[in-house]
């Protein structure tokens, strides 16, 4: 068995030492460990017989563990999991022996970390892009997204909140400077005393293609059917699946109400029209109409924030209700001609002289028997700007008096502590004021000075970084965060933005040192909808790599129904599931197995559930009728992410389980590890290919622990649909092979697996249901892995040996409270690891 598991994501992160200031520790001689290792390990791990490529005798030959942290950490992990020595060895150590060795080794590793840590500086954490956007929006009380143009943040240990990974570059600093000036200009824009009148633009029902109303330009790509209505006017009809929209010219920034009207035709009675709304090339949202039989013509209504004055914003709408005939969209089919074919067949004649250029199709009247689904009488209405408060920038309301008095010092005195997330000295205020005066010149207007001051403030490291000012000479972990620093940690952990007014007030009063009061704030934030969105976007997305779904491209020939709406629904499922756990303080063990999931109509089709009951795009909680789904591993998005374009990858799925469920990722493959090559001479299933790979002893060590988890999931194909047979793996994207290979044999799915022990005996079983039973059996390992992941996210650093006890404590708290998510979050905030540096 390969000796290669790691405890956490080790890497070269400096350590946090014990709390007290201590003199530099000395490492024990290895001989102090006694005969344990030479008796228990050397037999199989020595020169000439280095099982798993690991040699214990080399480690024992060194005086101390110095410089050998990584191999010794592996040893520690093997002991902790009782994986080594193997079950079948005679004279295995007693539990007491194990604990003794674990205690000694952990102590040595902690000392070693302390010794190496002092050599490396620890990072202050800067805001990532999402945090920057939320922070400037909250600071000035107006929604803004200036960070969308920043270079993407790097992730380290899987998260983009890890200080060490949040690099700065010249490009980023250029963008910071530009963003600061733009934000300041936005915030200081002068508004008249009264909000401008809202105006409404409407498209009429009796206009044809190319309609143009002032300030409003429709575009109708080839998706239109124009039928003569009963009253002789042209009516706008869209069939589902095609995009249409309007360029809207907004004179003012503000909130705009967007309404789409129309009547769905040939929809099932309870079916809902699904409208995807894109605004300025971003998906604004996907909305469901009321059920088609509910009467009325209101399809959707939504609010859009337009951030710029005097801009033209493209709105694009798509009815995404599957294909025009009612089924899922097949990406390899062009529905346009087939719709026409169907229509012509129904009528038995063509209307060539009334057909416009390709795509424009005008009919004298609605033909009978045309069962293509469409929306008739489509109308669009945009009205605005609407303002919830005036002036629309919170900053201008809050500082109305100071702005009126043109008192630069008073404005800065008010805003600077909020921006820096701590009290500021009068000298700091004076410095900024002086900067504003000197950089703009004596004759400059008040607004220009204020702009300079705000720009300066937004580029200050105290704004861009969550500064934790540890005095020089403090030992690692020996610094207790101030109330203000703690407020920021809590706030960025839970809501991904700066502390709100209540948290700031509590910090000012010094209340956050009181565990109970701190916990009350955590409870308050956990009930805040900002927490659900920030943790889902920030933590869950990174934990499960959901962003990567955007880039997957299953081979369309094999998976013709894999389209954007399915891909999006797949990405939403784990988010909706996790958001509900967070809202309702659910059990994290539901992630392993559950009799419900979150699905919409498209996923219901994909999963073979009753779509009639789940109409529309919105995901809702669905009780599952059978055991084919439930828990993360039954979610199509994750199954797709862990597949190749043409086939499943039990290896990727196995790694996913080890990395994401247990946080015990296998080591990288050696550089000479072969690839699985689809054979043409003898067709094989993936299972057989992998079995061959495991015959190679160099590969077997890792693959015997990776592959079983993936093989157990073989009932899910490469896009996560349930299957009972698979085709031999002959890459269909390679026609050459197909010709040589001839017919591809099919195999019944064999989802049997044999798990190596992690902290129990090896088990054999088969199928998805059995693998979930295994996961539940190991739920404590999962709880620990999950705790580690969330601690990395919350602490903004990789974990080290000295965090071991804190991790244990937090996952114990989780277990004690029946694996309820809030228990873990509260425990992490209360942990010394979170409150010290």
């Amino acid at each position: 068995m390969k000796f290669s598991f790691r405890i956490f994501v080790w890497l070269s992160v400096p350590a946090v030492s014990g709390l007290a200031a201590e003199p530099a520790p000395t490492l024990d001689p290895v001989s102090k460990a006694g005969a344990f290792y030479s008796e228990q390990c050397v037999r199989c791990h020595k020169e000439g017989k280095a099982k798993g490529g690991f040699r214990m005798d080399e480690l024992l030959a060194k005086p101390t563990i110095e410089g050998l942290d990584d191999p010794w950490k592996n040893v520690l992990d093997k002991l902790t999991s009782r994986e080594m020595p193997p079950d079948d060895e005679e004279g295995r150590p007693t539990d007491e022996d194990y604990e003794k060795q674990i205690g000694w080794l952990r102590g040595e590793l902690e000392k070693s970390e302390q010794l190496t840590a002092t050599a490396r500086p620890r990072a202050q954490r800067r805001l990532n892009r999402a945090e920057y956007n939320r922070t400037v929006s909250d600071l000035f009380g107006v929604p803004m997204r200036p960070a969308d143009g920043f270079p993407p943040d790097d992730t380290l240990h899987g998260f983009d909140t890890v200080a060490e990974g949040l690099n700065t570059s010249v490009v980023l600093l250029d963008r910071y400077l530009d963003a600061a000036q733009l934000v300041a200009e936005r915030v200081l824009k002068e508004y008249p005393d009264k909000p401008p009148e809202a105006s409404t633009f409407r498209t009429g029902a009796n206009k044809v293609n190319g309609e143009e109303v002032p300030g409003f330009k429709l575009f109708d790509p080839n998706s239109f059917l124009q039928f003569g209505g009963s009253d002789g006017v042209w009516e706008r009809r869209h069939w589902v699946g095609h995009a249409w929209g309007a360029d809207y010219h907004a004179k003012e920034a503000g909130r705009y109400k967007v309404t789409v009207r129309g009547r769905p035709r040939h929809f099932a009675p309870n079916e809902r029209a699904i409208v995807r709304v894109e605004v300025g090339e971003r998906v604004h949202g996907i909305f469901d109409s009321p059920p088609a039989d509910r009467g009325g013509d209101l399809l959707i209504e939504t609010n859009v924030w337009i951030a710029q004055h005097n801009t033209t914003v493209p709105f694009v709408f798509t009815f995404v209700n599957g294909n025009p005939f009612g089924g899922a969209v097949d990406e390899t089919v062009d529905y346009y001609p087939s719709c026409w074919q169907r229509h012509h067949d129904a009528k038995g004649k063509h209307f060539p002289d009334q057909m416009g250029k390709s795509g424009d199709a005008w009919m004298p009247k609605e033909p009978d028997g045309l069962d293509i689904r469409w929306i008739e009488g489509v109308r669009l209405e945009i009205s605005g700007p609407h303002y919830d408060a005036w002036p629309p920038v919170g900053f201008q309301r809050e500082f109305a008096a100071e702005l009126k008095a043109k008192d630069l010092g008073a404005v800065i005195r008010g805003i600077l502590p909020v921006a820096f997330r701590r009290p500021v000295s009068e000298a700091e205020v004076a410095n900024i004021v002086e900067f504003a005066e000197s950089s703009t010149g004596a004759e400059a207007k008040f607004e220009d000075k204020l702009k300079a001051a705000l720009t300066r403030m937004l580029v200050a490291p105290e704004f861009l970084f969550l500064v934790e000012a540890v005095p020089a000479g403090t030992p690692r972990g020996g610094y207790r965060l101030t109330n203000w620093e703690l407020a920021s940690r809590v706030s960025y952990f839970l809501t991904g933005t700066m502390p709100d007014a209540e948290l700031r007030a509590a910090a000012a009063r010094g209340e956050l040192s009181d565990a109970k009061k701190l916990d009350d704030h955590v409870g308050r934030l956990l009930r805040d909808s900002r927490c659900v969105s920030a943790m889902t976007e920030g933590f869950l997305n990174s934990w499960l790599h959901l962003d990567r779904l955007a880039g997957v491209m299953p081979e369309p020939k094999l998976f013709p129904h894999f389209g954007d709406d399915l891909k999006r629904s797949m990405a939403e499922e784990p988010k909706a599931f996790f958001a509900a756990l967070l809202r309702e303080n659910g059990r994290i063990t539901d992630l392993l197995d559950a009799d419900y999931t979150w699905a919409n109509e498209r996923l219901a089709m994909h999963y073979g559930l009753n779509r009639e009951a789940i109409r529309g795009s919105g995901l809702r909680r669905v009780e599952l009728p059978n055991r084919q789904r439930g828990g993360l591993l039954g979610m199509a998005g994750l199954l797709t992410l862990t597949s190749e374009a043409t086939r499943t990858s039990p290896v990727k799925r196995g790694i996913f389980v080890l990395e994401n469920i247990f946080n015990r990722p296998p080591p990288p493959p050696p550089p000479n590890a072969g690839e699985l090559i689809p054979g043409t001479a003898s067709a094989k299933s993936i299972r057989e290919h992998l079995a061959l790979h495991r015959e190679n002893t160099a590969c077997a060590g890792c693959h015997s622990r990776i592959d079983p988890w993936g093989l157990a999931l073989e009932n899910f194909d490469a896009v996560g649909a349930w299957r009972t047979e698979e085709s031999a793996w002959v890459d269909p994207s390679r026609p050459q092979q197909r010709e040589e290979g001839g017919q591809t044999p099919k195999f019944a799915i064999n989802a049997s697996f044999e798990l190596p022990k992690m902290s129990g005996a090896a088990r054999s079983a088969a199928g998805f249901d059995a693998v979930r039973a295994e996961l539940l059996h190991r739920r404590e390992d999962f709880a620990r892995g999950f705790t580690e992941k969330m601690m990395i996210y919350a602490l903004g650093r990789g974990l080290v040996i000295s965090d071991y006890q804190r991790i244990e404590d937090a996952s114990d708290a989780l277990r004690r409270e029946d694996y309820r998510l809030h228990a873990l979050i509260r425990a992490i905030v209360q942990s010394p690891a979170f409150q010290t540096r």
């Binding site: 790691r6 080790w10 890497l11 490396r120 500086p121 620890r122 990072a123 202050q124 954490r125 800067r126 270079p151 993407p152 790097d154 992730t155 380290l156 240990h157 899987g158 200080a163 060490e164 990974g165 949040l166 690099n167 700065t168 570059s169 010249v170 490009v171 980023l172 600093l173 250029d174 400077l177 530009d178 600061a180 000036q181 410095n431 000197s438 950089s439 300066r456 580029v459 490291p461 105290e462 970084f465 500064v467 000012a469 540890v470 005095p471 020089a472 000479g473 990567r548 997957v552 020939k557 190749e644 374009a645 990395e659 990722p665 990288p668 493959p669 994207s733 390679r734 026609p735 540096r837």
Partner: protein
């Protein structure tokens, strides 16, 4: 991003110093990426050495027989083996970086600097623009900064032409100056007061803060250079050159980008150019290839070859332009080193790749060969190219030595 320009007057003497020969024209580096591979049977010559027959895809290069070499048997494995984003990664994200993106759990997934930016590191300050980077749009950038973040491409050749040859309006210049002036005073002030902050924080805890301040100093330096450039007039447009028209077919836009590239090199406004002429979903209805190229790579070698050959006609057009520009007794083609290719073969594989190395690198390259490099890294070819422009890098990605030509 518009690259920050550098004052020619400020730097060449200082940077090139005694080693530069004033009569010798500088070597220009051009990286042309086709994306998604090509049909190798029609791209690779059958014979090796000097006497190979041009395969059908390369026939448009008949007039340049002695100006290029076919380098086959190259390997781009570090960029492929365990990358995080599937097979296309080694060809797009990693084509010019050769990075191992580590689909391996626990290994940070982060790209590294691309080879063109390594060249910019050494050559960027000698010209008005450190780098030009074009793509017809709709595709991900293959250019990555020193910190491994993507740098977007210019998609509009007309805008690039204007940037190269048109002076800004006085109003725009004044606005830009105001912006720069505020940036500059902000930078000065932040750097000044950062000393206070540094005092408050123990040495062992300011790793990223130091990085931030170091970068600020660099931005400050560049701001000063930009400020000086604002008053420098743009060079005059070479005789006969016209601004490219806007829009057109994909082929027309690609040729326009190549024309602007030739003009930029001719007027020595940059010495490093990256051209992304491919794109997975790109279509060429104008030559009867209406479907996305990527589709052809999976099922239609015939149409794949049609597009491959069509792209080589663009290349021939570009080489013709370079050859027609005379300088220092030679021509621009002689003074250039050009890479043409992709990180994939016929079937998305990363082994046995073929790329073209074109131009004479100012006399440092011996051309007209077809050589099998038997598994040497593609990155070795990058090292060779850098060396022709006097950039002596010992390593790049998985390569520790140059190709012996």
């Amino acid at each position: 991003m518009v690259a920050l320009p550098f004052l020619e007057a400020m730097s060449p003497r200082r940077l090139m110093g005694a080693v530069s020969d004033p009569d010798k024209a500088p070597v220009r580096l051009v990286f042309i990426h086709t994306e998604s591979g090509m049909w190798m049977d029609a791209f690779k010559p059958k014979a090796f050495g000097r006497d190979f027959a041009l395969p059908s895809t390369l026939e448009p290069l008949a007039a340049f027989r002695e100006d290029f070499s076919v380098c086959t048997g190259l390997f781009h494995a570090a960029a492929f083996k365990r990358n995080a984003c599937g097979r296309h990664c080694q060809d797009t994200t990693c084509f010019l970086t050769g990075a191992d993106l580590g689909a391996v759990p626990g290994v940070p997934s982060r790209n590294t600097v691309s080879v063109d930016q390594v060249a910019v590191r050494h050559l960027g300050e000698r010209t008005r623009f450190p780098h030009l980077h074009f793509s017809p749009g709709g595709i991900d950038s293959i250019v990555y900064s020193e910190t491994g973040t993507p740098i977007p491409a210019e998609t509009n050749p007309q805008a690039a032409f204007n940037r190269l040859f048109a002076d800004q309006s006085p109003e725009a210049r004044a606005a830009a100056k105001r912006r720069l002036a505020l940036n500059k005073s902000v930078l000065d002030d932040v750097l000044e007061s950062a000393k206070e902050l540094e005092k408050r924080i123990g040495n062992q805890d300011k790793a990223k803060l130091d990085e931030y301040l170091t970068n600020l100093r660099e931005v400050e330096r560049r701001t000063q250079v930009s400020e000086k450039w604002l008053d420098q007039p743009a060079p005059s447009i070479p005789a006969g050159a016209k601004p490219p028209s806007d829009g057109g077919t994909r082929s027309e836009r690609i040729r326009a980008m190549m024309d602007v590239t030739a003009l930029a090199l001719q007027t020595d406004q940059t010495r490093v150019v990256t051209l992304q002429i491919g794109g997975m979903g790109c279509t060429y209805p104008e030559i009867g290839a209406p479907d996305g190229y990527h589709k052809y790579t999976h099922e239609d070698p015939k149409n794949m070859q049609k597009v491959d050959r069509h792209r080589v006609t663009h290349l021939a057009h570009f080489l013709e332009r370079l050859r027609s520009i005379k300088e220092g007794g030679r021509d621009l083609l002689y003074n250039s080193s050009i890479l043409y290719g992709s990180g994939m073969g016929s079937w998305h594989e990363s082994t046995d790749l073929a790329n073209l190395l074109i131009g004479h690198g100012g006399g440092t390259l011996k051309q007209g060969m077809h050589t099998d490099y038997k598994g040497k890294p593609l990155s070795s070819l990058f090292l060779t190219m850098l060396a022709t422009a006097g950039v002596e890098e010992k390593r790049f990605a998985d390569a520790g030595d140059r190709l012996s030509l």
